[in-house]
Symmetry: C2
C-alpha cells in the first residue's frame, strides 16, 4: 500500500489547502454520527471545491489503490461515512451551492448543501422541498440521496428518491456523468439515476443533485393522542392509514416522551403509554375534517386524551418535540439506533417484540416510529464504558433485526446499511440477491475503492 508519497502527489494535483494531513483535523472526520468504535485511520482528508476536483481525487485514488470515503455532513446513523485505514475522507462540505429555478420548479444543489438550505431556497419562491429527515437542519442533500433518507412527511409525500430528478455522479474511473435532469417524466435508457439513490457512496460520488419542488402545501393541523399502550396506538395507525392520508403520522413511546419532556418541558403526558402525532395538510376545511376523522379513530382505539390544534406554531413545537427524541436520549447514555421497518400490519408485533427484547436483555429500548410507513427506530440505551452493558446492547441490536426479518421487514428503512448493518444484509437479501448486488458493485467499481466496507462486507 502506498504511503504519504501518494498524498503528496494528490496535493500537487489540487489547489492549495484541499488536502489535509493534520492528525488533529483528521480525527474529526473519522466518525459519522453512528460513532462506530471500529473506524479506521484515514491518510488524509480532502475537501474538493467542485466536480473536477472530485474527479481528480477519484482518478488519483484509482491509480494509487486508495479507498475513497465520500462524506457529506457526517450525520449518518449507520456508519456509512466511517473511515477505513489508509483511506481519504472525501468531504463535500465545501460544495454547498443551491440554485432554485422557480419556473421549472427544481433546485440544483451541490452535495454538501444542507437539506434545510434547499428548503429555505425553495421557500423564497413559494415552493417546497418535502423530504424531512429529523436531521434536516444538519444533514446534507448528498447524504440524503446516498441513503435515500426518509423523514416525517414521507407517509404522504415519499422519500428523498421520489424527488430526485437528476444526479451528477463521478464514477470510479473519474468520469463525471449526468443522469436524468429537470424533466418530470423520463424513461429513456436504464434507470441509472435511481440506482445511485441509496447506493451509499459505493457506486460513485454524487457531485450534484437536481430535486423536484412542489407548491407549498396548506398550513397543517395537528393532533396529539395519548394511548395507554403502544399496541393500541399501533392499531390506530393501521385504521387511520386505511382511509386517510395524513401528512405526518408519528408514534412515540413513554421513554421517548419522558426524554423529550426532560429536555423541553413542554407538558407532554408523561404517563401515557404512547403518543401519536398526526398532521393534516389537506387544503382548506378538509384538514380540520381529516383531523376530526383521526380523532374519532383514536377514540375508538382507546386514546385517553386527544388534543388538536390548527395553530402552526404549536404544531411545529410538537414536530420539534418528535425530532428531539434522538438528542434527548443521547444525553441519557450511549445509543444504538435501529431503523427497522415492517409491513404495516406487523407494526404492533414489532413494537411488542422490541419490548420483549428490552426485557430479555435488561436494557432500556426507547421507540419512535414513522408509524404510517411501518418504519421504527428502537433506540437501545447502554453504557459503552461497561463491557457487560455494551455486550447486551449488541445482542439486542442483533435481536431487533432478527425480529424485523421474521416479520418480513427490512433491516433499514431510511438510514442505510453503512458499516453497522452490513453483517445483516446477507440474511435480508438472501444469497442470490446479494450476488446480484455485488455484480452491480463490481461492474461500477471494479477496484472496490468506493466506500469499501459500507453496505457489503469486504
Amino acid at each position: 500500500m502506498p504511503g504519504r508519497d501518494a498524498v503528496d502527489v494528490l496535493a500537487t494535483l489540487l489547489p492549495a489547502g484541499r488536502v489535509i494531513t493534520d492528525p488533529a483535523i483528521i480525527e474529526g472526520y473519522r466518525y459519522d454520527r453512528a460513532r462506530d468504535a471500529r473506524v479506521g485511520r484515514p491518510r488524509a482528508v480532502v475537501r474538493p471545491a467542485g466536480t473536477s476536483e472530485v474527479q481528480t481525487v477519484v482518478r488519483w485514488a484509482g491509480r494509487h489503490g486508495v479507498p475513497v470515503i465520500p462524506r457529506g455532513a457526517g450525520t449518518g446513523l449507520s456508519g456509512g461515512a466511517g473511515a477505513v485505514d489508509g483511506c481519504v475522507m472525501l468531504t463535500l462540505e465545501h460544495m454547498r451551492a443551491v440554485a432554485v429555478d422557480p419556473d421549472t420548479r427544481v433546485a440544483v444543489a451541490q452535495p454538501g448543501a444542507l437539506n434545510v438550505e434547499i428548503k429555505r431556497a425553495a421557500a423564497e419562491h413559494g415552493l417546497w422541498y418535502p423530504p424531512d429527515p429529523s436531521s434536516f437542519e444538519m444533514s446534507s442533500i448528498g447524504g440524503n440521496v446516498a441513503t435515500n433518507a426518509g423523514g416525517l412527511c414521507c407517509v404522504k409525500y415519499g422519500v428523498t428518491g421520489d424527488y430526485v430528478l437528476g444526479l451528477e455522479v463521478v464514477l470510479a474511473d473519474g468520469t463525471a456523468v449526468k443522469l436524468g435532469g429537470p424533466r418530470i417524466k423520463d424513461t429513456a435508457g436504464l434507470s441509472l439515476m435511481k440506482l445511485f439513490v441509496g447506493s451509499e457512496g459505493c457506486l460513485g460520488v454524487i457531485t450534484e443533485v437536481t430535486v423536484r419542488l412542489l407548491p407549498a402545501p396548506a398550513p397543517a393541523s395537528t393532533l396529539v393522542a395519548a394511548f395507554p399502550d403502544m399496541i393500541r396506538a399501533a392499531d390506530a395507525v393501521l385504521a387511520i392509514t386505511a382511509g386517510l392520508r395524513p401528512s405526518v403520522l408519528e408514534l412515540m413511546d413513554r421513554t421517548s416522551v419522558n426524554a423529550v419532556e426532560d429536555k423541553l418541558g413542554m407538558g407532554l403526558d408523561r404517563e401515557a403509554g404512547a403518543l401519536l402525532l398526526v398532521c393534516s395538510d389537506a387544503p382548506g376545511p378538509a384538514s380540520a375534517a381529516e383531523i376530526e376523522a383521526v380523532a374519532q379513530i383514536c377514540t375508538r382505539h382507546g386514546a385517553t386524551e386527544i388534543h388538536a390544534t390548527d395553530d402552526p406554531a404549536e404544531g411545529e413545537a410538537l414536530a420539534v418535540a418528535r425530532r428531539t427524541v434522538l438528542p434527548a436520549l443521547e444525553q441519557r447514555g450511549d445509543l444504538l439506533l435501529e431503523d427497522v421497518g415492517v409491513p404495516l400490519p406487523a407494526l404492533s408485533a414489532l413494537v411488542e417484540g422490541v419490548a420483549e427484547i428490552a426485557e430479555e436483555y435488561g436494557l432500556t429500548i426507547a421507540l419512535v416510529a414513522h408509524a404510517g410507513d411501518g418504519n421504527t427506530h428502537p433506540m437501545i440505551v447502554y453504557d459503552a464504558g461497561a463491557p457487560d452493558s455494551a455486550a447486551r446492547a449488541a445482542l439486542a441490536f442483533d435481536a431487533v433485526m432478527d425480529l424485523a426479518l421474521s416479520l418480513d421487514g427490512t433491516i433499514t428503512g431510511e438510514h442505510g446499511v453503512g458499516r453497522l448493518k452490513r453483517g445483516w444484509l446477507p440474511a435480508y437479501l438472501g444469497p442470490e440477491v446479494l450476488a446480484l448486488n455485488r455484480r452491480i458493485k463490481t461492474a461500477l467499481d471494479p477496484q472496490g475503492l468506493l466506500n469499501p466496507g459500507a453496505v457489503f462486507e469486504n
Copy 2:
C-alpha cells in the same frame, strides 16, 4: 444458429400447449401496437403459466443462444415487444393473477394482469392503484413496469415506478430473485428494484409485481377550458402548476379535439385552438376551490370558454374523450406516435416547434399532452402506403426528437425507447452515459439474449 430442434427441446421441458409454432398464431405476436414494419420472425411463441416455466424458457434460451422477447399485452407504442428473427416471444398473458392485501395495502400481480384488473381488485377494498396510462384497460402491469408507464394522474400521483414496492425477476441465467417487498420504506442494499423499472425487458423478465395502493381519493371535479391557441393554453399550464396540484392536467389541440368529436360527438368545441382538461380531487370543498382557482388562471390566460362540473359521470366522459384521441386518430391514417417531454417552461416552445415541423413536412401532427408533466404526444398522421408520405413522416418523427433534445427534453417520457427510438438514445444520453447503460446491460445479460435490439442498437 439452432433451428427447430431447439424448439422441440423446449417443448419437452414445458407442459403441453406452452410452445406454439403455428405460423398463423405466431404472426399475431410479431408486432406490438407500434406496428413497426421492421419486426422479425419468431421461431416460436411461448406462454408460460408461472415463474418456474419462465425460468425454464430463459435457461433454455441461454443454452441455445435464442433471443427472448418478453411481451405483456402487446400494447407498447415504441416497439419494445417487436419480434426479432429467430426469437421466442415470451408472452405473459396467461400469468394474470391479482391478489390484494387490504391491510398491507398492496396488490401482488402476475405480469400479464391488466392495469384495470389491479384497479378493480383494489377498488373492492376501497383502495386505489393510481397509475393510469391511457391504455389502462388493455395494457399489462408487467409492461407498465417495464416502460415505467405514466398516464393522466401522474401530474399529482407519479408514475408506475412510484408505486412498485417489489418485483420478482427472472435473470438471464434463469435465477428468479425477489427485489423489495411489501415495505413502504426500504434502503437495504442497492436499489435494484428501481433499476428493473423501465428496463424494457433488457435486464430480466418480470414475473411478479407488488404495488402500493392508496385510499381511494375524493371524487374529482373537472374543468374544460377552451383557448384560442396552444401557446396560451401552455402558458396557463405553467401558471396552474406554479401553485396548485390538480390531479389531471391534459392539453389537446384542435386536430385531436375534432378527431374525438368525429368519433364520440360529445359537443366539444371544434373551433377552439386548444382544450385544457383539469381535474381536482382535493377533499371536500377544496376541490371546488381548486377548480375555481384554475378557472381564474385560464381566464387570465385568454380562455374563451370554461365549463366546470362536479358530476363524476361527466368528468369521466371528458377523461374518456382524452383517452380516445389515439384510437380516433388511428382511424384517420397511419400514425407515428411521439412521446417527447421537456422541462415545463419549454412546453410552449415545444408546441410551437411541432407546429412548424408539421408545416415544413406538409403533414398533420396532432398533439395531446400530459401538460402538467411537460410530456407531449405529437401524433404524425401519414399514409404508410405512399412512400413520399412515409418518408416525410419519418423525417418529422426525427425532427420532433431533435426539437425535444434542443429544449433539454427527453425522447420518451412514458412509452419507452423500444426499437423505434433506439437510434436517438445515443444523442440523448451522450457517449459516457450510454457506455454506463451498456455496462449494466452486459453485467446482467452477458449473452445479450434479453430483448436484443430494444433500447440499444445491437
